[in-house]
Amino acid sequence: MAAEKWYRVNKPSVIEEVLDGEAVIVNLATGSYYSTEQSGATIWSLLAQGTTVPDIVAHLRMHHTEVPNYVDGLVKQWLDVLESENLVVGEPLEEAAANQGPTGVANEEGKTKTPFMEPKIEKYTDMEDLLLLDPIHDVQETGWPRASEKAAD
């Protein structure tokens, strides 16, 4: 059985913020911009402090309804995606405990649960071009970073 890993954000290359159920992530090394919502943002907020797969699963069950039984596999798959993008780093749990161990799952009973959806991530590879977009006139109604058709041309 593979040893349990502790996952954390790959700082200082990666900067991020979770606001209103959306995690906005920037990889400064590659100039890529990412956005994830719902369960993806829930998972990311735990990664910001450092966490493990069991902690993530427990947190998802606390915050979402209809969480499938195979959620462990989904979470591992998701973390593999984030690692392949160099957004997170997985370390052996013993090393993490020596440096700064996981903080565990906070007791947040009483918060309204939302239906679980598989985590997804949107990636934009050229942040320099994205930042040149006028966030009022060059974007769709859903707002930056989604460029309008005219601006995309």
Binding site: K11, P12, I15, E17, L19, D20, V24, V26, L28, Y33, M127, L130, L131, L133, P135, I136, H137, V139, E141, T142, G143, W144, P145, R146
Partner: protein, 377 residues
Amino acid sequence: MITCPDLSHEHEVLLRATLGQGQVVIDAWNEWQQRFDLATIDAKGYVLLPQLYLRLRQLDVPEATLAKLRGIYRHTWCKNQVFMTRMASVLSLLQERGIGCLLLGGAAVMATSRFGCLPLEKCELLVPGARFADATAVFRQEGWSKRSDWEEEGARLAHSINFTHSDGTTCAIYRSVFAESTPSWADEDCWRHAIASTVQDVPVSVLSPTDHVLKLLVDVGMGCRPFTPRWVADVGTLLTAAEGSMSWERLRVKCATLRLTLPVKRSLAMLQMVSVVGCPRELRDLAARMATTWAERRGDERRLRDPAQRRGATGALAAHWCRYKRVVGEAGRIPGFVKYLQEMWEVPSVWLLPVAAIGKWRQQLVGMRKGGHSNGG
């Protein structure tokens, strides 16, 4: 020249929505939506939008109605993060050489308030006066270019020097917090009360809210900076974030000792005119109690006049006296003032001072006849 507040009605509504509390914010936001449009907002109003978004979400205004505002917030956040990455590399450079930095400007406002999300345009750093030349040398060695040739000649006395990187990032290095000459204790006091923070994990000191509010009031009151929605937002954000921890007595003492009372009173009066920032009672009381000297008033009157109208030796001497007293404090006397004038005008002997004064007066007259400007020394 100091201009009166020139905020449009749209700016005032946006400021109320950004800096207000509770229902004031909702009412202002509703008013803005009914009367104005994002597509026609100007640059001065635009800078308030990211912070406005945070304020509206704090009050649970439905997310669905704020889609574009959310995008503007994200856009600003991203740009600021890229900016702060460049700022972090500058801070590291200076720290490697043992030069401490005190963060000023927009980055300092953001560091002291969760809701201070305004676009960052320029990195502003205070370094110890004795290390100013070292700091500017570091920038030159790293390929940053100066913004103007004048700064080379004025570097000996320059309050600040601006640098630009090839990637467009601008950075201003300050040798003192206030543009007017101040004694070393004024800056030492700022360092002593600075707040420890980090910029992307690089440790840095940040100007305390008390000193920052004082600097903002002085900058506008002296005409070093225009009165804009951005300025009002910075003052309002600092006052809100520091509520309960502002050191009003320290602000009062600094104001009085540094003879900055008149510019501060002027800025407060302008803030009251737009009435979007709840001016704390303590600040209003301070302004009412602070007294001024004859020389301060004469010097201030002279500063407010158009440069072409600044005639007369009395006003010029009063301005110099204020500057001198600001630096040396209560210990300042006439013999010291004479020596000060000698240094300012680079005159080798005190007997040549009247000659230097006449020369400056003639320069001023020539300048006025040609239609140019002269400060008259």
